[in-house]
């Protein structure tokens, strides 16, 4: 099961440029006494062609970080770069185009449009952009997620795992620079999770996709190249080439209060 990770440990040969970067990112909800700093000065890079997991206790700001990175929400201060673009400076119109053309997003609750078929849901971002799907790429994606026989079904005729695979396909079909996934396996059982995760892994290995994924699950984290730990709105740790055991150990360490000020690497 970890073969993919191991195989990848030789490091992707292509580029090591940064796909997304947060610089001293702060996000404060509410005002005055009721203010909550969901992100409290987060600085983190996500390398292109890498599969990164973001982990942390509930309420640590993982979703908020995803939303800010994916241009779904605006930060209170700090900067977010996608490639070379500082998205905190963009207006709504440019952000919309950015989301449409450069970013894919997978939600925990699938979020498919109930009135559209699986195929139509997958093609939705292209339809919005008014682009024709690249047939070859579409077929590749559909085959990778193994949904060919289900394309004409409506979401309510699909299982949770199938629905999430449709959502993943939707995120990938427009060949975005980066895909964000917020607990994509949160609602799935272990078998369905494995389907989705190996699909994500494959798209990184075979198509050099960049993926950032929030998860609670050490086993899911083990599919990734790197795990970033958040706590209380701050990056507290990270692991490269994680295994489930190492992740679990690290999680225990963090929750026992032995918070390391610097990354525990080395």
């Amino acid at each position: 099961m970890l073969g993919a990770t191991v195989a990848d440990s030789t490091a992707p040969p292509h580029d090591h440029s940064v796909a997304a970067r947060a610089v001293d990112l702060r996000k404060v909800y509410g005002e005055g006494g009721a203010a909550v700093a969901a992100l409290d000065g987060v600085s983190v890079d996500f390398a292109a062609g890498e599969f990164t997991a973001v982990m942390g206790p509930s309420g640590s700001g993982k979703s908020t970080l995803m939303h800010c990175l994916a241009a779904l929400d605006t930060a209170t201060s700090g900067q977010v770069f996608l490639g070379d673009t500082d998205i905190t400076r963009l207006d709504d119109k440019r952000l919309t185009t950015l989301r449409r053309d450069k970013i894919g997003f997978v939600f925990q609750a699938y979020n498919l449009v109930p009135t559209l078929t699986a195929q139509e849901n997958i093609e939705l971002p292209l339809a919005i952009a008014g682009r024709k799907p690249d047939r070859a790429w579409f077929d590749t994606v559909v085959d990778t997620v193994d949904l060919r026989s289900r394309l004409s079904h409506r979401p309510n005729e699909l299982s949770g795992g199938q629905q999430q695979r449709v959502a993943c396909a939707r995120a990938l079909v427009s060949s975005p620079d980066i895909v964000f996934a917020d607990e994509p396996t949160g609602n799935l059982d272990s078998a369905a999770s494995a389907e989705v995760l190996s699909f994500l892994r494959r798209s990184v290995d075979e198509h050099h996709q960049t993926i950032v994924m929030v998860t609670h699950d050490p086993i899911a984290a083990a599919y990734t190249d790197r795990v970033v730990f958040l706590d209380d709105g701050r990056v507290v740790d990270e692991i490269r080439e994680p295994t489930a055991d190492r992740v679990l150990e690290q999680m225990k360490m963090l929750s026992s209060g032995a918070v390391a000020g610097t990354p525990a690497e080395g």
Binding site: H67, T96, R99, R100, F105, T115, A127, I128, D182
Partner: protein, 847 residues
């Protein structure tokens, strides 16, 4: 994007139907009005063309479609001269008489009240349509004064067959007469005369009965010889005619008559379109509400689209595209329903004597274009605000469970609403100061602005009412009551918008009933104050009758004086003048006109008395000379006094000789009778009724009964308006059904939860019903209050035009509110059933 929109529409057929309904009804009203007036104008145009020959010769202004009975005639020598023209193939002199009514075997007037009763002599004239004007279809032509033929539809409606003795009421020599029916005739090629009845006499009998036996004619129709144009024939005929008699080409005559008819039809069209407008405004509220709810329900989905990269414009446009589709479909169905509505109007107007049974109801290109334009524009306007709001949904909302739509603040609505109310009041004030149609339009616009302003403010204005109702609900219905109250408070905008639709309908209903009641009260007052005669003889519908009646009554020993009141129409300075004529002798006994000085001194032949507000508007002063243009010529009159409004059923009062100078046949409309001192009431009644009994519509009454008869007319008009406003109220009720149904869908989860914790189906239904009643009562109370405000303002404004008593029908208004509550109960039936049928488990697990 378009596909998502279409999918959405199809996936939610019920919503589509509900939101489309408002458009359907509004557009149906517009289309129906046009189709109906087109049908009328087609029918009348057919009648006009079917009675017009190549060239028509008649005294100028006489015998037109909208002319009164003319007393001017063409002497028989003229016929001989015209017969010598080589340009004329044939010459057809004719006589015509208005006020000849057929009495059916039950003793009732055929055609009821309203449509004219006509008599022609038989002739074989061919109309410009190429068809004979009259053709015998059955039996024989009548001869002598005791035989008649009837036009087919007239005979059919009366139920007479050949050989029957037919009773007639006439405005001629004999007030009533009996004649044998010898034949049936077809009029023109189209069946019927739009509800008018037609009696056909032999030419000599016509002169004998209606033209004191002289050899004179009402007019002469000419048929052109082979190869001679209408113009050539006219030019040849004109030099042979005596002064004042005119030859017109058939085309000109038909065009002039059609223009006259169009004027009346245009008025009816405008009248109907006003109601269509009301329905559309109400419909707009319904659509705004429906789309707002749909957007709210889809906000998560819309947020998802935004998260996937759809721009604000795309989201906005997808909602608008949905509206466009609804608008298109609604307009299409609306046109079809409009056709049915036109048939309904046909039935409604048939009740008022307009018979269009033979008419075709065309759906013209204009009707289609206007209907689509109105339907689409209204839908797009209504969908604009919800669409804009949809575009403001943040993409991150796709991630949340409970998506709240960005709402504009109530404060802003309050301010905008207040500005509209103030602006509306200003417009109304300007309108009252202004004149004629422009003024009316301003008043209408002002009322609309105030209504919309109040609708905007109603989330705040309605609060005390909802809370008050809530207190009652809690006390009477316990938890279910407070849940219902919570539901109506939780979305004040939605509640208010739903209620506003009903409010607009009820405002107008209340306004009209206040004006109607005030008009009735003012009539009472005017009759009480100025009518001093003990008795009145009049025709219910105001159709004139033979002056012979007055002569016979005057002979009675119980009667002291009889004043014969006549009516006519004329033009003064280009505007329509409603003229009354009465003999000064006997007038002072019948009327107590509050004018300075003795009536007999001021009111003589050659003078005119003018109603005050009319004098003000025309800037006429005592001593001025007023030219009054009748159909038969202009008469110059000296203004000697003005009288207060409402005192007489006319704006101008002249002496009878003035009408004769104007070419009009002297026919009476109302007789005012004073009793010989010492005569018994019962004796006088019996004696007069013996004379009037022969004519079904002409009756004797005392001033109270006379007032009641007048008020009956006001009420009849009021019912017509209620019927037309009813459609707006129906739309508003549909709005309540729609909003409730959508709210129930929206609250599926919550409803399931309530059921899961033990709320019974019955309690659930009651909860929905109570919410519905709250909305309906809110709308009704606001509407009635607005109606009272408008009613008082309008009555004050037109006090100088005769409606000088303000009378508010409190009981009736209270009944409206109670009815609205009942409507609320009805509106809740379907949504409540839907809510109660929900599967509990499914409801709580619904996404």
């Amino acid at each position: 994007m378009l596909r998502i929109t279409m999918r959405n529409l199809l996936a939610r057929k019920l919503r589509l139907v509900l939101s489309g309904f408002a458009i359907v009804l509004g557009v149906a009203f517009v289309a129906g009005s046009f189709i109906f007036t087109d049908a009328m104008s087609g029918a009348f145009s057919g009648i006009i063309k079917g009675t017009t020959a190549d060239v028509e010769v008649a005294p100028k202004g006489a015998n037109d479609f909208d002319s009164l009975q003319d007393r001017r005639t063409v002497p028989a020598e003229v016929v001989d001269k015209l017969a010598g023209l080589t340009e004329a193939q044939s010459v057809h002199p004719y006589n015509q008489q208005q006020g000849v009514y057929v009495i059916d075997p039950d003793g009732d007037l055929v055609g009821g009240s309203g449509p004219p009763g006509l008599a022609f002599n038989y002739s074989d004239t061919v109309a410009i349509t190429g068809e004979p004007i009259l053709s015998l279809t059955e039996g024989e032509l009548p001869s002598g004064t005791s035989e008649i033929a009837l036009e087919e539809s007239t005979a059919e409606r009366a139920g007479y067959g050949i050989g029957d003795e037919v009773e007639l009421v006439t405005a001629g020599r004999d007030p009533t007469m009996t004649a044998t029916l010898t034949g049936l005739m077809r009029f023109g090629s189209a069946g019927g005369l739009g509800g008018a009845t037609l009696v056909i006499f032999d030419p000599d009998a016509m002169q004998e009965l209606f033209f004191t036996g002289q050899d004179v004619y009402s007019g002469i129709s000419l048929t052109a010889a082979e190869g001679v144009s209408q113009e050539e024939l006219r030019d040849a005929a004109q030099p042979l005619l005596p002064p004042g008699v005119q030859a017109r080409t058939g085309d000109d005559a038909a065009a002039a008559n059609e223009a006259g008819v169009q004027e009346i039809l245009g008025f009816i069209n405008t009248f109907l379109l006003v109601f269509a407008g009301v329905s559309l405004v109400v419909g707009t509220f319904l659509i705004i509400n429906t789309f707002s709810i749909l957007v709210a329900q889809r906000s998560r989905e819309l947020a998802l689209l935004r998260a996937l990269g759809a721009s604000k414009r795309q989201v906005n446009r997808s909602v608008l595209a949905e509206a466009l589709a609804v608008g298109l479909l609604g307009s299409t169905i609306g046109i079809a329903v409009g056709y049915l509505l036109a048939l309904g109007l046909k039935a409604l107007f048939a009740f008022f004597g307009l018979d269009l049974s033979g008419a075709s109801f065309p759906i013209t290109l204009r009707t289609v274009l206007v209907s689509y334009a109105v339907g689409l524009v209204v839908t797009m306007i209504a969908a604009y605000l919800p669409a804009r709001r949809a575009a403001r949904i943040a993409p991150v909302a796709a991630m949340r469970d409970d998506v709240a739509l960005p709402e504009s603040s109530l404060r802003r609505r309050l301010i905008v609403g207040a500005v509209m109310v103030v602006g509306g009041v200003g417009l109304m004030a300007l309108g009252f100061a202004g004149e004629g149609e422009g003024g009316l339009a301003l008043i209408g616009a002002g009322m609309l602005a105030i209504l919309i302003g109040v609708a905007l403010m109603s989330p705040v204005l309605g609060r005390p009412l909802i809370y008050g109702l809530g207190a009652i609900y809690r006390r009477v219905f316990g938890t279910v009551g407070s849940l219902a109250t919570q539901n109506s408070i939780r979305n004040p905008r939605r509640t208010a918008a739903t209620a506003s639709a009903l409010m607009i309908g009820l405002t107008l209903v209340a306004l009209m009933s206040i004006l109607g009641q005030s008009a009735s009260a003012s009539t009472d007052k005017a009759i009480r104050e100025s009518l001093t005669s003990e008795y009145v003889v009049s025709n219910v519908v105001g159709a004139p009758f033979s002056p012979k009646i007055a002569g016979q009554i005057r002979e009675l020993p119980e009667v002291e004086t009889v004043a014969q009141f006549r009516t006519a129409q004329a033009e003064v300075d280009g505007s329509f003048a409603f003229v009354g004529a009465v003999d000064p002798n006997g007038f002072a006994e019948a009327f107590d006109l509050p004018i300075p000085g003795a009536v007999t001194a001021l009111f003589r032949p050659g003078t005119v008395l003018v109603e005050e507000s009319t004098a003000d508007r025309g800037k006429y002063e005592v001593g001025d000379t007023i030219p009054m243009e009748f159909q038969g010529g202009t008469v110059k009159l000296k203004l000697t006094a003005t009288f207060p409004p409402g005192a007489l059923p006319a704006n101008y009062l002249v002496t009878p000789d003035t009408l004769i100078k104007g070419g009009l046949e002297p026919l009476d409309s109302i007789l005012f009778i004073t009793k010989q001192p010492g005569a018994a009431d019962a004796d006088l009644r019996a004696a007069v009724e013996k004379i009037t009994s022969e004519i079904p519509t002409v009756t004797l009454k005392n001033p109270q009964e006379f007032a009641a008869e007048q008020k009956e007319q006001i009420n009849l008009f009021l019912y017509l308006i209620y019927a037309l406003l009813g459609l707006a109220v129906i739309i508003a009720v549909l709005g309540i059904v729609n909003t409730l149904a959508l709210s129930v869908i929206e609250r599926t989860r919550e409803v399931g939860l309530l059921r899961a914790v033990g709320l019974s189906r019955r309690q659930l239904r009651r909860m929905v019903r109570l919410e519905s009643v709250a909305v309906a009562v809110l709308g009704a109370v606001l509407g009635v209050l607005m109606g009272i405000a408008f009613g008082v303002a309008l009555q004050r404004a037109i006090a100088d035009q005769g409606i000088d008593v303000l009378s508010i029908p409190w009981l009736r208004l209270a009944v409206f509110v109670v009815l609205a509550a009942l409507v609320g109960v009805l509106a809740a039936v379907l949504p409540a059933r839907r809510a109660a049928r929900l599967n509990v488990l499914r409801a709580i697990t619904t996404e």
